[in-house]
Amino acid sequence: MKNKKKVLFKLFVSTLYLSAFTFGGGYVIVTLMKKKFVDEYYWIEEDEMLDLVAIAQSAPGAIAVNGAIVVGYKLAGFAGALVSIVGTVIPPFLIISLISLFYNAFRENFLIAQILEGMQAGVAAVIAAVVYEMGEGIVQSRNTGSVIIMAGAFLAACVFGVNVVYIVIACLLIGVIRTLIGERRRKA
C-alpha cells in the first residue's frame, strides 16, 4: 500500500514536471516520458513503451494527455491514470488562466497588437509547413485511396464547409471497411 502511494506520488510529480517544461507538442513529451519511465525508473520495458506510445497516438485527443493516461494506467491502474491526468493538465490550465486574464489588456496595446498580427502570419506559415510535410508523406506513399481521401476531405472542409466531425466519422467508417476488405483478401 505504501509502495503504491509512493508510485502514485512519483507519477504525479513526473507528469507535472514533464507537462510544465515540454514545449513543442505531444511527440516531444512522449519521448521524454520514455526517458523518464524506461531509462530512469525502469518501470516499463522499452518494447512495451513503444506500444503504449502507439496507443496514445491512435486514440483521439491530445497525445501528451493520452500518453500520461496510458502510462499511469499501466503502472497503477485507474488511480494511476487519474493522477497522471491531473499532473499533466495543471500546468497548461494555470498558464492559460493567467494569460487569459491579461489577454484583453494586452490586445489593446498598439505594439502587442502589431506583434500578434505578425505572429498570425507566422503561425499560418508554420501550419503550411506542417501540412506540406505531412501531405508529402501521404503522396509519396503512392496509396491511391489515401490521396483520394485527402483530396475529398479538403474539398469537403474548405470548399463546401462540411462540419469536420462528419468528415472524421466518414473516414472512420472508410477505415473499418478498408481494413475488413484487406483482411479478407489476406485470408483468401
Binding site: 493538465v89 488562466s97 476531405a153
Partner: protein, 191 residues
C-alpha cells in the same frame, strides 16, 4: 447551463480529434468559432499562437481559454474535463485490450484512412487563419484590401521554415517583431 454546453462542446473536440497537436485545431475552430461564436477567428489564431509558445496541448489550452472567457473558472474546468473524458475512456479501453491481446491491426488500419483526412482538415484551418490575418474575413478578400506586409511575412516565414529548417517558435517571434518594427517605422520618422 453554459458550463454544460462548454462541456459538451469540448467533449466533441476530445472525441473526434485523432492524431494529436494540430489535428484538434479544425475541430476547435468548428465548435468555438463557427458553431458557437465564442471566439472570433482572430482571437482563435491568437490562441493557437499562444499555444505554440506555452507548454501544453492546443486542445487543453483552448478549453481553458474559452471556458474562462465564457464562464470563468467553472467554465474552464467544465471545458477541460469534457476535452479529456473521451480520451480517458478510450485510452484505458485500448490499453486493457492491448495488455490482454497484444495486437492492434484493426486500429492501425482505421488510422491509415484517417490520417490523410486529418492533413486536409489542418490545411483548411490554416487557410482560414491566413485569410483572417491578411484580409480580415472571407467576404473582405480583394486586391485593394490585401495586407501586403503580412503576405510578405508569410512567404519569408515559409522560406525560413522549409529552406533553413528554423525553429517554428523562433520564426513566429521574428514575424511578430518584424510586423511591430514596420508599424513603428513611420512614427519614428515623423518625430
Amino acid at each position: 447551463m453554459i458550463c454544460l454546453e462548454l462541456f459538451w462542446c469540448f467533449l466533441k473536440v476530445g472525441l473526434f480529434s485523432f492524431g494529436g497537436g494540430y489535428a484538434s485545431m479544425p475541430l476547435i475552430q468548428e465548435q468555438v468559432v463557427s458553431s458557437h461564436g465564442w471566439l472570433s477567428m482572430g482571437e482563435f489564431t491568437d490562441l493557437v499562437t499562444i499555444s505554440q509558445m506555452t507548454p501544453g496541448p492546443i486542445a487543453i489550452n483552448s478549453a481553458t481559454f474559452v471556458g474562462i472567457k465564457i464562464a470563468g473558472i467553472p467554465g474552464a474546468l467544465a471545458a477541460t474535463t469534457g476535452c479529456i473524458l473521451p480520451a480517458c475512456v478510450i485510452v484505458m479501453l485500448i490499453a486493457k485490450l492491448y495488455l490482454k491481446y497484444r495486437s492492434m491491426n484493426m486500429l492501425q488500419g482505421i488510422l491509415a484512412s484517417l490520417r490523410p483526412a486529418v492533413v486536409a482538415m489542418i490545411a483548411s484551418a490554416g487557410i482560414s487563419m491566413l485569410i483572417t490575418a491578411v484580409w480580415g474575413s472571407v467576404e473582405q478578400i480583394s486586391l485593394g484590401n490585401t495586407d501586403w506586409i503580412l503576405v510578405v511575412l508569410f512567404l519569408v516565414c515559409i522560406v525560413l521554415l522549409r529552406r533553413f529548417k528554423m525553429n517554428p517558435i523562433l520564426v513566429m517571434v521574428l514575424a511578430g517583431v518584424a510586423k511591430a518594427g514596420i508599424a513603428l517605422m513611420p512614427k519614428i520618422f515623423v518625430t
